[in-house]
Subunit: 729 residues, 2 copies
C-alpha cells in the first residue's frame, strides 16, 4: 500500500508545476501602457513593502514561540522534540503560499486590464489562471509539507508499538498546522486591517465627502486601497486557506490513527485516505481549470456558467473518486465513509447557496436592504445587522445536519461513546472532501481581487471606460463564485475544529504517556490514562456540560470570538480615521489635486496603512495564542474543551453574521448604483455607501479572521496539552 | 422551622402595602396645567390601548400552551398535573406586575414634571417613589405567587418519600417560571419593538431631516415615542425582572431539593434559604427607599450620592443578613454559602461598573467613540460595534470567577462530580443574592423612563425650558444608576440559566419516574434512572462535549441567540420605516405642523407602533418556545443541554455587546450635545444621532430580550423534559 503514498508528493509537484506554468503564461502578456505599468509598479512595491514588514514581525513571534516549544520539548520533556521544527515549517509554507499568490496577483492586474481592452474573455482567462496560480500553490505547498514530514517522522520516530508510533507521528504533524494557523492569523488580521483602513478611508473622503468615484487617481488613498486588495484579499486569503487545507488533512490523519488504534493496517488506511482524496483533488482541480474556457464575446451568464462548469466538474469527479479511494484502500464501510464526505460536500454547496441568497442583489433580502435606504442611513445599518443575524440560521442548521450525518455514516448510525473517534473521523474526512477541490475553488476566489485591481488600474490609467465596465463584470462574477467558496471555507472550518477536539484528547493521552515515562508514584495510573479511550478521559476530567469549569470555558470561548472581532474592528476604525485625516489634509493642502492637475502623495497613505496594520495586528493575534494557554493552565482540560466549544459555537455563527451583513451591504450599494432607488449620488446611494463602509471590516477583517481564530485556539491547545496535563493530570 | 416560611408571604404583603402607599402619595400630587394633563392622558391612553392589544395576543398563546400542557399531563401522564395552572399564574402575575408599574408611570410623569418646576428634589422624590411602586410590586407579587404555590403543593402533592415530594414540588413550581418567562418575552419583544419603532422613526424625520428637538410637539411620532417608553422600558422591564426574580428563587429551591435528596431536613433548609434571603431583601429595600432623600437645592452629585446611599445600604445589609440566614437555618457550611452569595453580589457590582465605564461619557471609551464622529457616520458605527464587542471581556471574566467561586465555596473547593448539584446550588443562590434588593434597584431603573417622560411632557406642554433641563438631569442620573441595575440583571440571568441546567436533569429523572410507574419491560431500568445522580444521567445520555449531538446543540443554541436578535432587529427596522413614511407624509400633507399652527395626527403614529409591535412580536417569541421542543424531540437530552449551553454562552456575550454598544452610542450623542466636537447641529452631532438610532434596537429591544430568551429556552426544556424522556429514554 505504501506506493500509494507517493501519489501525494507527486500530486504536490504536479500542482506546483502547473502553478509555474500558469504564472509563466501570464507573465508573457503585455502590461499595457507606460502609465499602467507605472501604477502596477506602485501597487506591487507597496504590497511587497508591506509584506516585508509583516514578515519581520511574524518572524519574531515565530522565533519566540519556537524557543518556547524547544524549552518545553528539550527542557521539560513534555513536548515532542519535533514540534519546534514542524511549527516553523508550517509558518514558512503558509507565508510562502500567500507571498507567491500575491506576487502573481500584482503582476496580473495590469495584464488583465490590458487583455480586457481586447476582449472580456481574454481578461477572464488571465485573471482566472492567475488566481489558479495561488490555488495550486496553496495545495501544492500543503501536500509538499505534509509529504516531507510524513517521510521524516516515519524515518525517525519509533514508539513502543507501531500503532503508537502512528498516533505520535500524526499528532506531531498537527503542530505544523499550528504554525500555519499562526501565520494565517497574522496575515488575515494584518492584511485585513491594511485593506480596510485604506478602503474605508478612501470611501469616506472620496465617495461621501468629495463625490469622486472609486479608484479615482485623484484620491490619495487609492493606491493604498489597491495594495490592500493584494495583501488582504490575496496574501491573507492564501495563508488562511493553506491553513484550512492542511488543518483538515492533518486533523483527519490524526483522528484516523487514534480511531483505529491497535490495528496498524487500518490506521495506515485511515491516514492515507485524506491524503489520497486531497491528491486526487489536485489533479481534478487542474482538469477543472482547463475546462474554464468561453467563446469570445461571451456574456456574463455564459462566463458564470463556464466558471461553474469548472468547479462543478471537479466537485462531481471528486465525489465519485471518493468512493474509489475508500474502496481501493480496503475499508469495509467504504461507501458509508464516502457518504460522510458527500454530506460534507453537499453542506458546503448549501451554505454557499444560502450565502448567495442573502448577499446577492438578485434576491429579495439584499433588495429589501437597499430599499431601507429610503428612510436613511440608520435603517440601512439596523436592517443589515438584522439580515446578517437571520442569515445564520440556514448555515447552522445545514452544518448541524452534516455533523450528525457524517458522524452517523462513519459509525453505522451508532452513538455508542466508544465509537466517538470513528464518528469524528467521518466528520473530519467530510471537511477534507469539502476542501479537496481547493485548487480550483480558490482560483475562483482569488481572481476576484485581481479583476478588482485590474479595474483600479484601468481607472487610474484613465483607459476607455469600457475597460472598467468589463472589469466590473468580472468582479461581479467573482463575488458570486466567491460566495460558494466562502461556504466551503466556513463549513470546513467548523468541521475541522470539531475534529480537533478529539485530537486534543489524543494529545492529552500522549501527555500522560510522557508523565508515565518519568516514573514516580503515579506512573502506573498515568500509563493507564495514556491508553484510555475518549469516554474514559472525558470521565477523568469530568468534561460534561454540568461541570462549572466547562461552562466557564464556554463563556470565555464565546467572549473570545467577540473580543477578537471587537479589537480588529476598532483597529480598522482607528486606522481608517488616520487615513481620512491624511486624505483630507492632502485635498486641502496640495493645490490642484481635485482638478487632476497635481498627483496626490500616494506613499504617505500607503505608509499609514502599513504602520497601522503592523501595529494593530499584534495584540489580537497574541491574545488568540495566550488565552488557550492560560485557560489550560488555570482551568485544565475541562476548561479548554469548554473554551474550544464555546469559541467554535459563537465564532462560527458570528463569522457568518459578519460575512453576510458585509456582503449584503456591499451589494445593496451596487444595486442602488445600478440605477435603482434613485441611482448614483442619490440620498439612498449615500446611505448604502455608509452601509458598505461599515460592512468592510465586518466581511474582510473580523469575519474571515474568526475562521482562523477558532482553529488556532484548538491548535494551540493541542500543542500545549502536555503542559496542561503536567499541571492538572 | 416552618414558621420561618410565613416570613415570605408576610414580606410579600409588606412590599405590596408600601407599593400601594407610594402610589397613593404620588396620586395626591397635582398633574399641573390642563395641557400637561391632556398630554399625560394621551400617553396613558396610548399605553393602555397597546397593553390591551398585547395581552389579547398573549392570552391566546397562553391558552394554547396551557391546553397543550394539560394534554401532556392528563392525556399522556408525562407531565405533572399542576403544571398547566402553575404556568398560567406565572404569566398572570408577570403581566400584572408590568401593568401596575406602567399604570403608575403614566400617572407619575406629568406629576414629576410639575414637581420639578418647584424643585429638583421634589421631582426626584416623586419619580423615584413611583419607580419604587414597580420595584415593590414585582417583588411583592413574586413572593406572593411563590408562597401560594408552596402552600398549595405542600397540601396536595404526596410522593413515595418526603424527599421526593420536595423535589416534585420545587420542579413543578419552576413551571410557573416558564409562564412568567413567556409573558416577559412577549412584553420585552413587543414593548421593545413598539418603543424603538416610534423612537427611531421620530428621530430620523425629526432630528435628522427636520432639525427639530426631541419630544417636540410638532413631531407626529412624539406621543408614540412617549407611550413607547412606558410599554417598553416600564411594562417590559417589569415583566422581565419579575421573571428573573422568581426564576432565580425557584431554580435555587429546586436545586436545594435535589442537592440534599434523602435528607428531608436539609432539603427544607436549602429550599427556605432563597425565599428567606428574598424576604429579608424586600424589607431592606424599603429601608433603602426611605434612605433616599436629599436637601432641597441638591446638585447632581448629591442626588447621585443619595440614590447610591439607598442601594448601597440595602446591598450591604443583605450581605450581612445572608450570613445570619444561613446560620439560623442551621447550615454547617453557613459562612461558605454566604461567601457564594457575596461573590455573586460582587460580580454584579463589577459588571455594573464595567458597563458604566464603557457606556458613560465620563470615561475614555465613549469619548473616543464620540471623537470618531469627526470622520463620519461609518466610523461611528464601526467603532461602536468594536467597543461593544470589546466590552464583553470584563463581564465574562467576572462571571467566570463568580461561577467558579460560588461553586467552590458551596462544595468546599471540591470538583467531585458527585457534588455538582451542591455546587450549582451555590451558583444559584448567588443569583438570588444579586436580585434580593430588586425592590430598590428596580426603583432606580424604573424612575429613568418616568423622568424621561416627564421631560417629554414638559417639552410638549411648552413649560419653562428650565423644567426640561432639570428632568434631563434626572434622566442622566437614571442612566448611571441603571448601569448597575443592568449588571445585576444580566449577571443573575447567566447564573440562573446555569442553575436551570441542573433542574433540567432533575426533571429528566422525574420523567423516568413517570415511565417507571407505567410499568412494562424497562420499568426497572427506568426506576433506576429516576434515582440516578447527575453524573449517571450525564453518562446515560453521553452529555459530553465530544458527543456530536451535544456539539450540534451548541451550534443551534448559538445560532438561536443571533437569529432571535436578527428577527427583532429587523422588526424594529421595518416598523420604523413605516413610521418614517407616516411622519414624512404628515409633514407634507398637513399644512402648518412645522410652524406649530396645527397639531399633528398623533394617533395614527400610535396605531402604527401598536400594530407593528403586535404583529412582529409573535414569530420570534414562538421560535423561542418551539425550538427547544423540537431539539428535545429530535436530538434528545444531549442536544437540549448543548442547545442551552450554546444559547447561554453566545446569548450572554451577545446581550452585553448589544447593550453596551447601544449605551455608548446614546451617550456619545449626549457628549456631543453637551457642546463637544462642535455641539448640536454639527456634522459630528448628525453622525452620533445615527449611531444612537442604530443603538436603540440594540440596547432596548434585542439585547434585553436575550436575557429572557436564555432562561425561557431552559424553562421550556424543563417543562417538556417528560416528552423528551418518553422519546429518547
Amino acid at each position: 500500500m505504501d506506493f500509494l503514498f507517493y501519489l501525494v508528493p507527486a500530486a504536490s509537484l504536479i500542482a506546483l508545476f502547473f502553478a509555474w506554468l500558469f504564472f509563466r503564461q501570464m507573465m508573457k502578456e503585455s502590461e499595457g501602457t507606460p502609465t499602467m505599468k507605472e501604477i502596477a509598479q506602485y501597487v506591487r512595491e507597496g504590497a511587497m513593502a508591506y509584506l516585508k514588514q509583516q514578515y519581520k514581525v511574524v518572524v519574531i513571534v515565530f522565533i519566540v514561540l519556537a524557543v518556547f516549544f524547544a524549552i518545553l520539548a528539550y527542557g521539560f520533556g513534555i513536548q515532542n522534540s519535533w514540534v519546534p521544527f514542524a511549527f516553523l515549517t508550517g509558518g514558512f509554507f503558509s507565508g510562502l503560499a500567500g507571498f507567491i499568490g500575491m506576487k502573481t496577483a500584482t503582476y496580473a492586474s495590469a495584464r488583465t486590464a490590458n487583455a480586457v481592452s481586447r476582449s472580456l474573455n481574454s481578461g477572464l482567462k488571465i485573471a482566472f489562471r492567475s488566481g489558479a496560480v495561488m490555488g495550486l500553490t496553496v495545495v501544492g505547498l500543503g501536500l509538499l509539507d505534509i509529504s516531507i514530514w510524513w517521510i521524516v517522522l516515519n524515518a525517525f520516530v519509533h514508539e513502543a508499538s507501531a500503532s503508537q508510533t502512528l498516533v505520535v507521528i500524526t499528532t506531531t504533524m498537527l503542530t505544523f498546522g499550528m504554525g500555519a494557523s499562526t501565520q494565517a492569523l497574522f496575515a488575515r488580521v494584518g492584511g485585513g486591517i491594511y485593506t480596510k483602513a485604506a478602503d474605508v478611508g478612501a470611501d469616506i473622503v472620496g465617495k461621501v465627502e468629495q463625490d469622486i468615484p472609486e479608484d479615482d487617481p485623484r484620491n490619495p488613498a487609492t493606491i493604498a486601497d489597491n495594495v490592500g486588495d493584494n495583501v488582504g484579499d490575496v496574501a491573507g486569503m492564501g495563508a488562511d486557506l493553506y491553513e484550512s487545507y492542511c488543518g483538515s488533512i492533518l486533523a483527519t490523519m490524526a483522528l484516523g490513527a487514534s480511531a483505529f488504534f491497535g490495528d496498524t493496517e487500518m490506521q495506515m488506511r485511515a491516514i492515507y485516505a485524506p491524503m489520497m482524496i486531497a491528491a486526487i483533488g489536485v489533479v481534478l482541480s487542474i482538469f477543472g481549470i482547463y475546462a474554464v474556457r468561453t467563446k469570445d464575446g461571451a456574456g456574463l451568464q455564459q462566463l458564470l456558467k463556464s466558471l461553474s462548469v469548472g468547479t462543478n466538474l471537479s466537485a462531481s469527479l471528486i465525489a465519485v473518486c471518493t468512493f474509489a479511494v475508500f474502496y481501493m484502500l480496503g475499508f469495509s464501510n467504504w461507501w458509508q465513509l464516502s457518504l460522510s464526505v458527500l454530506s460534507g460536500l453537499l453542506a458546503g454547496v448549501i451554505i454557499g447557496k444560502a450565502t448567495e441568497y442573502y448577499t446577492s442583489h438578485s434576491y429579495r433580502p439584499t433588495q429589501k436592504l437597499a430599499e431601507s435606504s429610503k428612510t436613511g442611513t440608520a435603517t440601512v445599518i439596523i436592517e443589515g445587522v438584522g439580515l446578517g443575524m437571520i442569515s445564520t440560521a440556514i448555515p447552522v442548521i445545514t452544518i448541524a445536519f452534516a455533523i450528525i450525518l457524517s458522524y452517523s455514516f462513519a459509525t453505522g448510525f451508532s452513538f455508542d461513546p466508544a465509537l466517538i473517534t470513528k464518528g469524528l473521523y467521518g466528520i473530519s474526512i467530510a471537511a477534507v472532501g469539502m476542501l479537496s477541490t481547493l485548487g480550483i475553488t480558490l482560483a475562483t476566489d482569488a481572481y476576484g481581487p485581481i479583476a478588482d485591481n485590474a479595474g483600479g488600474n484601468a481607472q487610474m490609467s484613465e483607459l476607455d471606460p469600457m475597460v472598467r465596465e468589463r472589469t466590473d463584470v468580472l468582479d461581479a462574477l467573482g463575488n458570486t463564485t466567491a460566495a460558494t467558496g466562502k461556504g466551503f471555507a466556513i463549513g470546513s472550518a467548523a468541521l475541522t475544529a470539531l475534529a480537533l477536539l478529539a485530537s486534543y484528547i489524543e494529545e492529552i493521552k500522549i501527555g500522560f504517556g510522557h508523565l508515565a515515562d518519568k516514573g514516580g508514584e503515579l506512573a502506573a495510573q498515568y500509563a493507564e490514562l495514556a491508553k484510555a479511550n475518549i469516554p474514559q478521559i472525558v470521565e477523568h476530567f469530568n468534561i460534561t456540560l454540568m461541570n462549572p469549569v466547562v461552562l466557564t470555558g464556554v463563556f470565555i470561548g464565546s467572549m473570545m470570538a467577540f473580543l477578537f472581532c471587537g479589537l480588529t474592528m476598532n483597529a480598522v476604525g482607528r486606522a481608517a480615521e488616520k487615513m481620512v485625516v491624511e486624505v483630507r489634509r492632502q485635498f486641502k493642502e496640495i493645490a490642484g489635486i481635485l482638478e487632476g492637475k497635481q498627483r496626490p502623495d500616494y506613499t504617505s497613505c500607503v505608509r499609514i496603512s502599513t504602520k497601522a496594520a503592523q501595529h494593530e495586528m499584534i495584540f489580537p493575534s497574541l491574545l488568540a495564542i495566550v488565552v488557550p494557554v492560560l485557560v489550560g493552565i488555570i482551568l485544565g482540560p475541562a476548561g479548554v474543551i469548554g473554551l474550544l466549544a464555546g469559541g467554535l459555537g459563537a465564532g462560527f455563527v458570528l463569522a457568518i453574521f459578519l460575512a453576510n451583513s458585509g456582503g449584503a451591504w456591499d451589494n445593496a450599494k451596487k444595486y442602488v448604483e445600478e440605477g435603482h432607488l434613485g441611482g448614483k449620488n442619490s440620498e439612498s446611494h449615500k446611505s448604502t455607501i455608509v452601509g458598505d463602509t461599515v460592512g468592510d471590516p465586518f466581511k474582510d477583517t473580523s469575519g474571515p479572521s474568526l475562521n482562523i481564530l477558532i482553529k488556532l485556539m484548538s491548535m494551540v491547545s493541542i500543542v500545549m496539552a502536555g503542559l496542561t496535563v503536567l499541571i492538572h493530570g
